[in-house]
């Protein structure tokens, strides 16, 4: 009985925790952006405006869930579900503390890469099924961007895998007991983080949404809860990438004095704040600049990182 109940509790705790945190991120992002732009942000509903998210959620639930008559209905409804499903599936392999994980896969890292690659279907299908030119352009951009950044996202993690000698998340964190991988794998960290921004289409790389040119990009036609799923899915992805940066490069739950789960949370939130700081600072590049940056700079760098890491490991024996 215990073998069934404890994993179930963990599954639902992770699901509830992750969804709550990603909804809370909306509030956090608005408050932090406001702080850095000398404003206040939402501070009226509840303590520090925390219930703003609840109010927004109620509003989104009450809204008409409209499917445009010209849309491909089945795909249109399916698309937002995919991004939520794939991102939530990725959280299954995140190890919050020793033993506190939904499933400790031996190829956890590969599972995450597979799931994040599937996520592109959501955006591409949403853009396509909306039958709207702006949505289509957004979907196309998303597909191209994810394709090009997916490649070196995987490659940037191979350095970590080489050092840890395993695809298992727990083994990767355990391998960082002496030194966090952010020191020997600094290029890997930078490349993974950049790829992660592109993967979540966050602000320097939010060309699929690009509200100044494409209305709202791939989710222009979405409303109500379907839009909310894209919206929360984006923040889920931010939380996921931050959690993985913390896991792969910042030593996961490792840390003195405080309990492991607290260390993991602190590191994840630090990375999330960096995400938001980047949004507050950087302008959006042009589309061709984005692609050139990915293929001509980041991909060779990722390959070089693997070669150098592998060479050093080999020479040490």
């Amino acid at each position: 009985m215990r073998e069934v109940i404890i994993p179930l509790i963990i599954v639902f705790a992770v699901l509830a925790g992750v969804l709550t945190v990603s909804a809370g991120l909306i509030w956090l992002e608005r408050r932090l952006l406001a702080l850095w732009q000398d404003r206040y942000g939402p501070n009226r509903v509840g303590p520090f405006g925390l219930f703003q998210v609840v109010a927004d959620m109620i509003k989104l639930f009450m809204k008409e869930d409209w499917v445009p008559p010209f849309a491909d209905k089945f795909v249109f409804v399916l698309a937002p579900a995919i991004i939520m499903a794939t991102t939530l599936m990725s959280f299954a392999i995140v190890v919050f503390a020793p033993g506190l994980t939904v499933v400790d896969l031996s190829v956890g890292l590969l599972f995450f890469l597979a799931m994040s690659s599937l996520g592109v279907y959501s955006v591409a299908l949403a853009g396509w099924s909306s039958n709207n030119k702006y949505s289509l352009i957004g979907g196309l951009r998303a597909a191209a961007q994810m394709l090009s950044y997916e490649i070196f996202m995987g490659l940037s993690l191979m350095g970590v895998v080489l050092l840890a000698g395993s695809f298992n998340i727990t083994a990767i964190v355990e391998a960082q007991k002496k030194m966090w991988f952010c020191i020997p794998q600094l290029p890997g960290l930078v490349i993974f983080f950049i790829a992660g921004i592109a993967e979540t289409h966050r602000l320097p790389f939010d060309l699929p949404e690009a509200e100044n040119e494409l209305v709202a990009g791939y989710h222009s036609e979405y409303s109500g809860m379907k839009f909310a799923m894209f919206f929360v899915g984006e923040y889920l992805a931010v939380a996921l990438i931050s959690a993985l940066v913390a896991t792969f490069f910042l030593g996961g739950w490792l840390g003195p004095v405080l309990p492991p789960i607290i260390w993991f949370t602190i590191k994840t939130f630090a990375v999330i704040c960096l995400f938001i700081l980047l949004r507050a600072t950087l302008p959006r590049p042009r589309y061709d600049q984005l692609m050139a940056f990915g293929w001509k700079l980041m991909l060779p760098l990722a390959l070089l990182n693997i070669v150098v890491t592998g060479g050093i490991l080999l020479s040490r024996g």
Partner: protein, 171 residues
């Protein structure tokens, strides 16, 4: 590359800056006395209505939000039978105040006029009239102007000479 990091640092430093937002309902920003807000109708120093219902404000109003009807009392003084301003149309341009020959219509530094019911944005004369003189003190149109009303004939106004007798040959 350096630009990105210096930019990030500068944005981060903004966390220490003073926030420019005024927390409105608790704190109110300073409004200059000439602020053009809610429109009122003032009274002269003796407590009578200043408005003489000349229609100039209604004519000047670019959005036609003022409507009124003139009438006369038993002394021969003109006054508005009704005076109505539709504040859901008003753009607070102040042209009515400029057009008013008697300082009756004035704009005040009050802007908190939100209503839940659109009909309540229409203000009648009772809503517009205030007890005092507003911005321009000590002016009474019927005491200064050469219009004859009961108890005051021509030539009896302030700074007014008696009217010239056209049949008199003396200079």
């Amino acid at each position: 590359m350096f630009g990105i990091f210096s930019g990030l640092w500068r944005v981060l430093l903004h966390a220490l800056h003073k926030r420019v937002t005024v927390q409105y309902p608790e704190k109110k920003s300073y409004l200059p006395p000439r602020w053009r807000g809610r429109i009122i109708l003032s009274r002269d120093p003796d407590g009578g209505e200043r408005c003489v219902a000349c229609y100039l404000c209604a004519a000047a109003c670019p959005v036609d939000c003022i409507s009124l009807q003139s009438t006369e009392d038993e002394h021969g003084r003109r006054y508005p039978a009704f005076f109505r301003i539709n504040f859901s149309r008003c753009i607070f341009c102040g042209l009515c105040e400029e057009a008013c020959p008697t300082y009756a219509i004035q704009l005040t530094p009050d802007y908190e006029m939100g209503e839940f019911n659109r009909q309540e944005m229409v203000y009648e004369k009772e809503d517009l009239l205030i007890a005092g003189e507003g911005k321009y003190k000590g002016y009474n149109f019927y005491k200064a102007a050469g219009v004859s009303i009961a108890n005051k004939d021509k030539g009896q106004a302030q700074n007014e000479l008696p009217p010239v007798d056209m049949h008199d040959l003396l200079p």
